[in-house]
Amino acid sequence: MEITLNINGTEKKLNVEPRTLLVQAIRDAGLTGTHIGCDSSSCGVCTVVLDGKTAVKSCTMFAVQAEGHSITTIEGLAQGDKLHPLQQAFHDQHGLQCGYCTPGMIMAAYVLLQHNPNPSEEEIRFGLSGNLCRCTGYQNIVKAVQQAAQMLQQPTGAAADD
């Protein structure tokens, strides 16, 4: 069946089966920043943002269900060459080791900061508890989210030049 998905503001026509998982459709559309990890709803590396404010593990939704929703993936965060504050903060704080979990971590952090712009360390750890980092690099991931929260609360560009 043919479906139209709005991914990062672009309408994409895709030919899928009803059983095609959203993560597969996203990757087949050429957006391979969204990774497949455990494939069992546990690890969170396939997390994408739905309608700006909620997150979903895209291995646990059928592509056909995403029709009519806006999907944001890791590729949709940067403005041209300017990284999103979350991306910049993960870079600055070295919030990654192998990097495999990073897209999911960043998308999960993105919705966390939508709901709680100034989270405590405990709230960040709680909010990211559905996302696994097998390098166990959580310390710097938390630091990165803290930095991003600060950057997002400051006037545009003020923190990015540090």
């Binding site: 709803s41 979903v56 593990k57 646990t60 056909v64 999960a108 709901h115 508890s129 559905g130």
Partner: protein
């Protein structure tokens, strides 16, 4: 892991959804949040021939109080409950549960009603619904029926839903000022099934004795269970440590868990006891009652 092929239906009205369910019977499954069903389909533990996606149905996302009940529509997500300030302040048991179901990302999608319909032996919402004496609202071709949760939950992964029926709402009684509850869960890590968990709800009389008690335990038997004897011991009594210990012991007695990597049967039985005790103490603490 790719699920087996299925026919996808996306009804736009309740009537249309019920028509699909009636036509395809038990070969059809309802897709709401999908956070249990889709993993089961990927593992091919579930291979429904037809999926009836109810996400486009109108008027099922309500979360409102009416007639002394909190009404939770079939499309209310766990996070709708978790982030609701009024529920945090007044529905202590429900608020506790909403923070520990699965993991934070899964909760954006998973639904309360869907969890009850799935009736996993380790389900969190079922234990809460038992303790709080919730009711299910079910629609079918012959109209609407309202059923106490104890009748709705039939067996492992089985409910009283018949062919052509759709659960549209769960109702939790609104707690008065002398009612509180708590949910205590042990899990190896966030997102894993509970090793054991207990939901409790207590209503006090103005003289401080217990008017009504509800205790539900989960992950320690073939399905979530009501600890009837524990509730009977509490009712009419003044709270004391001795009473709490005795009521909690009833949970250990009826727990019949399967040993697995999370613990031996003996350990899980004892955790059912411990968690009921902790829950009762927390609920009393929330009511400002110090127990000696």
């Amino acid at each position: 892991m790719i699920p087996a092929a299925f026919e996808y239906k996306r009804p736009m009205s309740l009537e249309e959804a019920i028509d699909h369910l009636a036509k395809h019977g038990y070969d059809a499954r309802v897709l709401a949040g999908g956070q249990s069903l889709i993993p089961a389909m990927r593992y091919r533990l579930a291979q429904p021939g037809v999926l009836v996606d109810i996400n486009k149905l109108p008027n099922l996302s309500y979360l409102s109080e009416e007639g002394g009940m909190l009404r939770i529509g079939a499309l209310v997500r766990d996070t709708d409950v978790e982030f609701n300030k009024d529920i945090q302040h007044r529905y202590h048991l429900i608020s506790d549960v909403s923070m520990v179901v699965a993991d934070p990302i899964v909760r954006y999608r998973g639904t309360v009603v869907g969890s009850l319909c799935h009736n996993d032996p380790s389900g969190d919402w079922a234990a809460a619904a038992i303790a709080a004496r919730a009711q299910m609202v079910i629609k079918g071709k012959n109209g609407t029926r309202v059923e106490p949760i104890d009748q709705f939950l039939v067996d492992s992964f089985a409910t009283s839903l018949g062919e052509g029926e759709l659960a549209v709402e769960v109702r939790f009684p609104t707690p008065n000022a002398l009612t509180s509850g708590a949910y205590e869960k042990i899990e190896r890590k966030v997102g894993d099934y509970a090793t054991a968990a207990a939901a409790v709800q207590l209503e006090l009389n103005p003289d401080g004795t217990i008017k009504e008690a509800g205790i539900g335990i989960t992950a320690v038997a073939h399905m979530p269970l009501r600890v009837v004897e524990g509730e009977n011991l509490l009712r009419g009594q003044k709270p004391s440590m001795e009473l709490i210990r005795a009521a909690a012991e009833e949970a250990r007695k009826i727990a019949d868990p399967t040993p697995d990597a999370r613990g031996s049967a003996e350990y899980k039985k004892d955790m059912a006891r411990v968690l009921v005790g902790r829950g009762l103490l927390k609920a009393l603490n929330r009511l400002g009652v110090a127990v000696a």
